[in-house]
């Protein structure tokens, strides 16, 4: 089944509408607009990404939609690694030293790692405010402001959830948050 491009975009856009609706109350607030925005986005996206990770059958974690793409396991670990890096820098807290795990580890271990990364983000961003949103952060070999790092982080959550949805659909599954 192939839908026209416009129809595909329409459906993708609906996902982003859900994310947008969740953030609307925050946008009305003047104070700490950026910090509140990332916290609301985190609450919404962590639920969706975690639920989608759990939904994928354990034997499909090595699935990838194209030869050059990531496996679902790699994607899951990629989300966790990104969360630790970005949330530690944005929140100004040290990144915890965790035992290294491989993207071929069993599903439980990968789910546990991605959940822990979102818990870490929740704690790291809890006390964030907008007073130093212009401060320059160093993320790997990239220098950027805290506000732009937040924009990148929220953007990648959207992208990663859209990717997870693709992987699940290709295996006849639907993300649980879409079923409600």
């Amino acid at each position: 089944m192939t839908l026209p491009l416009n129809a595909r975009l329409r459906d993708l856009a609906r996902i982003f509408l859900l994310a947008g609706l969740g953030c609307v109350p925050v946008l009305a607030q003047e104070k700490n607009q950026v910090s509140n925005f990332v916290r609301v986005a985190l609450a919404e996206r962590s639920k969706e990404i975690l639920a989608a990770t759990v939904e994928m059958p354990a034997d499909k974690f090595n699935f990838k939609p194209s030869p050059e793409g990531m496996t679902f396991g790699q994607l899951t670990l990629h989300v966790a690694v990104g969360n630790y890096l970005y949330c530690s820098k944005i929140g100004g807290v040290a990144e915890p030293e965790l035992p290294k795990i491989n993207d071929t580890e069993p599903k439980d271990k990968l789910v546990e790692r991605v959940k822990a990364s979102f818990d870490f983000c929740t704690a790291a961003l809890a006390k964030l405010d907008d007073s130093n949103k212009s401060e320059t952060l160093v993320l790997g070999d990239t220098k950027t402001s805290r506000a732009m790092a937040i924009l990148t982080l929220t953007g990648t959550w959207n992208d990663h959830f859209a990717m997870q949805t693709t992987y699940l659909q290709a295996n006849g599954r639907v993300p649980p948050t879409a079923k409600n």
Partner: protein, 440 residues
Amino acid sequence: MRSMAALFLTLVLACSSVAAHDLPMNSIMNAFVKVEPRQMDLVVRVPLDLLRGVPFPVKDSQYDVGASGPAAQLALVLLEDGFVLSGDGVRLTPSSSSGRLSPPTDRSFESYESAAALADRPPDPPTRIFYDKGSFDVHFTYPISSPRSVFKIQTQVAADLGSGAMLTVRYLPVDDSSRALIINSGAEPAALNPAWYHAAGGFIVLGIDHILTGIDHLLFLFCLVIPFRRLRGLISVITAFTLAHSITLFASAFHLAPQGAWFPPFVEMAIAASIVYTAIENIVGANLRRRWLVAGMFGLVHGFGFSNALGQSLQFAGSHLLLSLLSFNIGIEIGQLAVLAIMLPGLVMFRRLVPERTGIVILSAVVTVIGSYWIVERWQVLNQVQWPRLDPDDVVSAARWAAVVLIVFAAAWMLSKWTAHKLHRRIKTLESAGRVERAP
């Protein structure tokens, strides 16, 4: 529930091209920076694929433009830190900002006036913008202390993409001609109107950096000097190389070099060939008295190579184009002399370990192998370029270049002959006066 399931079923198709990361590639933001006596205006068109984190409301696969106000407000607050402007080293803070969603068909960014007017105007709710298409247009106004300050600009929007996200800036100063420059996201701040000493210093450093990291230029230089035992013989060679590459470097900066996409790979190929030729000449026994000709001839090619490296950077020269070119050239010479200062003593030491002729052959053979590898590698690139059709203008241009080269070399040859003749006569005079010993 079924409709939602259907929705997600279609997502597999929506994202069918997803690879490791569904990131925007080569996104370009267009900007105007206009300086006025008391303020500076920045107007930027940011493609929406760079703002995926901003929750613009979407309805039926299109942005709900009428309800985009709160998200637009958030985007403005975020983008205040996406574009960093400074005046004389002090960060500028916007005193006002406005922004709106615009469809991809909008052409307002053809001029500053229409772009600023558009960004200040609320969007029309019936405007149709499909998801991820179109742009968010912003207008920031910054109070400034003087329009003569040295202004710098940096973009941090999607800095993680580096050269995948670029900002093209059209800079409109108060009493000077406008300029355009392109900067990568996350790059160091770029001066919009650099002071002459900043431009000169920056380009000297760039020249030094280019020669020190340009292994092919260094290898050619190495080939040129391998057979020389005395510094005096080298002077004409180094001078010829320097003069020749300066000629083509300046000619390129003033757009006298061919502009086609074929030219940079052609020059790279010719540089590799120059290395191999000189190395082989060393092996078979070079005529060192004519080495300056080889240095000069291939110096012209290397000058084009330098200009390729300089091309993107010249936009940061501000109004100091000539000075920046000179500075870049000075930087190259400084780097060249520094390398020679290490290379020549190294060669002297090498000659103590290995018989001279054997040493020349060994070193030149190694360089020949490296150069040949580059020839093969660069030939593959050159093979893929689209060659231009030769029209009468191209023939005239090529003939003109050939004439220039011939004239330069004829003049240099005559000068060398005249100098040798004068020197010979001077020695003869001194000999006949008995002030120097007659040569055996």
